[in-house]
Amino acid sequence: MANTASKLLEVRDLHVEFRTRDGVAKAVNGVDYGVDAGETLAVLGESGSGKSVTAQAIMGILDIPPGRITSGEILFQGQDLLKLKEDERRKIRGAGMAMIFQDALSSLNPVLSVGDQLGEMFVVHRGMSRKDARAKSVELMDRVRIPAAKERVTQYPHQFSGGMRQRIMIAMAMALEPSLIIADEPTTALDVTVQAQVMDLLAELQRELNMGLILITHDLGVVADVADTIAVMYAGRIVEKAPVHEIYKAPAHPYTKGLLESIPRLDQKGQDLFAIKGLPPNLMNIPPGCAFNPRCPMAQDVCRTDVPPLATVTYEGLTAERRSACHFWKETLRG
């Protein structure tokens, strides 16, 4: 983590908690990750793993309160976003980084035409006239391959199908050609055949504009299709970080291993699925030591007392950086 200047985005030791009626929920507990221009980082995790909260903290759209960033740094192009004033951050949102949400229908304003919503970006950030902004909107809709963009620019979100709406969301995120896109479960709400179209589009635009992409998902299939690097999150921490090919070949954390074994495969009809026993932890009462220890088949005494550091994983043939937060990553790696 020495040459941080080269990274487009660098999150360092981020901690986020939520104060609720019932207590303090520790949603993010020391997350470090970074993404370069042109790189796709997949953040994989189940609900409550802190993957979306981290993204919201980066975008600066975390609800505060009840949320609170207790410590950490978010460096974007070398600048710590957490030290900026709100109006300075607002300028970065949209132009510097943009976000795509899961639910395109509720992310679009139902009473404004899609043209108005797309054009708004240019009017606000670029000071364009309404007319020029409209022309730009049509151009964007063409770019995300919405047929008959010229006619459809005046239509309202409900007149578009789910896949088309997600394209509009992508168009909106790309409008100002940001250098970083955060996509939070962008295809989860879509049908399989449409999912493929949208992922393809996203990947293509990313290549064209050489953007960094943080893809937040729970779907191991989508990750395998598009990611360069994977960060697996559990209970607000990164438990494993690796190049995509390595992790599918041999996971170095029992949680990743369990996830990979528990999904049914299209190409084989297995017997019983491997199931990770138990439930994700209660974020108000995270187990001491390794948070995964109550569900881990390999847990020893040390796992119940010591939090495992995100250690560097090394083995022959590994060229990129790889890390695992398991006391027994060597044993896990061996199978």
């Binding site: 729970h218 990979l260 999904i263 495969r265 299209l266």
Partner: protein, 340 residues
């Protein structure tokens, strides 16, 4: 195949589209399900896959009599159950139960777990005498892998996976022969999905259940099903055993669907052929003529717009032994391997 416990023939459900407030005028119909046939064998799992809006959930609702079909019959052990009412309907309901998709809305938040699982006995008091019910509920909790002492808790005190187990226990209470599961795991986390799928597997052999398993996730359907039906716009387009459908698909829609599923294997990225369909599913209020898939199909010809392809073994495979010879509603059926 074993003796069918359920036979579905020509099942149709049209929802009328109306205009007007007091005096309603029909201006069209959403053809949610438009002629579906299948059999379910005793002890068998039939998987139904399709994308949203294909009518698979409407089929599920008709099977458990939550919707009345516009036309067609559903025969349970030879008897048509679509026109039943009153006592006869209630009796059939004991034998066909449903597991719902959303574990957050399918349990009444203001009832204890004991009341939720015990409700079937209150509705059908002949199944269990009053003094026996509490014990039966605790047995059921145990069967689905929950602590029987949780009987006085409320649904919100459980996680999604545990709630789905409660829903399954409720479905099992009356000892039905058939369980219709509509996307039973799609709302759950990956690591919990496997637990619930395994539970359904275990219960099937323990209670000799027949399942109709409805899902959009092709991998899970393959895992759990003996036979699979693929639905598109209110019709079944291809049906066969799991190996026939997944390894030897002959309908272009099935091929596109299978090829679009992301596979958790990054090495497949480079050499895998993907069929990316253009456009969206047409509106079920105004489906295309002839073959309904023709508007998105790369093989479509004039014939596809004129003739509705019937669901049968296609001509080119007739008389041929082998896995490719299964029912497929396509004029130009052709085998293609798409699963790596």
């Amino acid at each position: 195949m074993a003796e069918p416990i359920l036979e579905v023939r020509g099942l149709v459900k049209h929802y009328p589209l109306t205009q007007g407030i007091l005096i309603k005028r029909q201006i069209g119909a959403v053809k949610a399900v438009d002629g579906v046939d299948f059999d379910l064998g005793t002890g068998e799992t039939l998987g139904i896959v399709g994308e949203s809006g294909c009518g698979k959930s409407t089929v599920a609702k008709m099977l458990v009599n939550l919707e009345r079909p516009t036309a067609g019959v559903i025969r349970y052990k030879g008897e048509d159950i679509t026109r039943l009412s009153g006592r006869a309907l209630k009796a059939v309901r004991r034998n066909i139960q449903m597991v719902f998709q959303d574990p957050y809305t399918s349990l009444n938040p203001r009832m204890t777990v004991g009341d939720i699982i015990g409700e079937p006995y209150e509705i059908h008091p002949e199944v269990a005498p009053k003094g026996d019910r509490r014990r039966k509920v605790q047995d059921l909790l145990d069967v689905v892998g929950l602590n029987p002492e949780y009987i006085n808790r409320y649904p919100h005190q459980f996680s999604g996976g545990q709630r789905q187990r409660i829903g399954i226990a409720r479905g099992l209470a009356l000892r039905p022969e058939i369980i219709v599961a509509d996307e039973p795991v799609s709302a759950l986390d990956v690591s919990v999905q496997a637990q619930v799928v395994n539970l359904l597997d275990k219960l099937q052999s323990e209670f000799e259940l027949s399942y109709v398993f409805i899902a959009h996730d092709l991998s899970i359907v393959r895992h759990i099903s003996d036979r699979v039906g693929v639905m598109y716009l209110g019709r079944i387009v291809e049906t066969g055993t799991d190996a026939e459908i997944y390894e030897h698909p002959t309908h272009p829609y099935t091929q596109a669907l299978l090829s679009a599923v992301p596979v958790p294997d990054p090495t497949a990225r480079e050499h895998r052929e993907r069929i990316i369909l253009s456009g969206d599913v047409p509106s079920p209020a105004n489906p295309p003529s002839g073959c309904r898939f023709r508007t998105r199909c790369w093989k479509a010809q004039e014939r596809c717009a004129l003739e509705v392809p019937e669901l049968a073994v296609p001509a080119e495979f007739r008389g041929v032994e082998g896995p490719a010879a299964h029912d497929s509603a396509c004029h130009f059926a052709e085998e293609k391997h798409v699963v790596p």
